[in-house]
Amino acid sequence: MITRGWTRIPTVVRYAILVAIILVLWQAYVTLGHVQKLLVSSPLDVAAALLVDFKNGSLVTATQNTLKDLIVGMVIGTLFGFILASLAVFSRVGQDLLTVLTSIFNPLPSIAILPLAMIWFGLRPESIIFVVALATVWPVALNTDTGFRTISPTTQLAARNLGLRGWRLVSGVMLPAALPSIITGLKAAWAFGWRTVVAAELIFGVAGAAGGLGWYINNARYFLDTANIFAGLVVISALGILVEGLFGFIERRTVVKWGMKRAA
């Protein structure tokens, strides 16, 4: 009975109800359980902290810094990923190189490279950008390569029949035909990159005057501002949801609309 009525409610509302219940339980636990504020903040305290730090700009700056490093790193990683995948498709050496490099680096969490990056680049954004790029390049290269390789033989013949060659073949047919895999690669790259950038900032602290969200959380810990730690986590989670939504939007407008991928 309950399940039946439940499925009739619109999806967004169902999710909102669950979130509301979680928040109420959380608030009740903190208020009624007499939990030390130092250990767990209540949702209301977190909301207050969010409001204050958005108003004074510290959370906004932190978010901007994190996103800036993330985007620069991802763009660099994605470019190299595309280059590697292209080499792999057009030559045997390239294919072997991709196999060897991904075998070596893919199992290596790119955050483990951070100490080395700090020696090479110093305590500067370049170190974070470097590890983010390293987290991004492999999923992009592997998935793009798979995408190119799994283009249907008939689609390729049809393209050759039109006399397409070189760059026009790549941009006109190969890239759109491989788009489902490319988007999968970018999603994986984003997931790795996002975790890496936050982790790097936690370890790393401030690069010059520019600290990101990871630094914001760590900083709040130094001052025992537990509510601010939670506030930072909320922002990180919210941004993640936002980007996932963005990918979903792009997919609906492209590969789902074209029947190349089924709607989730």
Partner: protein, 231 residues
Amino acid sequence: MRGGETFVIIGPSGCGKTTLLKAIGGFLRPTRGRLLVEGQPAREPGPDRAVVFQDFDQLFAWKTVRDNVVYALRVARNLSVGEARKKTDRMLELVDISRAADRYPHELSGGMKQRAAIARALALEPTMLLMDEPFGALDAITRNQLQIELKGIHERTGVTIVLVTHSIQESIYLGDRVMVMSRFPARVREIVETRDFTDVESSGFAELTGRLRELLVHREEPFDVVETASA
């Protein structure tokens, strides 16, 4: 092959029908011998030998039916957007798919996809239209319908068609001449004139069907000899 005719290649699976068609299309090079298209060796693939394949994914999934044709004209014939659009509309009209012009390939039935592929190929104004079992993946009713329409299109456009099939009925109905190929050894058995036979119900059609079946089923002497020798 003669200009303007429908030349059908028929044979058992694995006899090299499709291989021959791909060689004409320039996708493969002959390992031995020469293959001449208008007196010249078959070169790289090109829009002068437009191909319609059996598989539905010959259409670009990310373009609507109209844009598939427009894109082909833009890249293969260097037409301006305006010219390409005008010509595309005429072609879609010809193969009776105008009402689905703005749909994506995955939204179409198998028959509609093949119509769109034929429209794209014809729009290129090829010297030859190469068709590799174009109706092989369709249900019988759609298949019949498209056979009739292809015949009409051929009469109106006069394009030379090379069609690969393994349907005897289709070969006689559509073909002016039918080349029968055999397997073991893979070679041409006979070229049969079928120009005057289009009435499926007629006795001549039935007779010809029998003859082609005979040619397809019966093995040639050399094969039996080899078998006896090895026994």
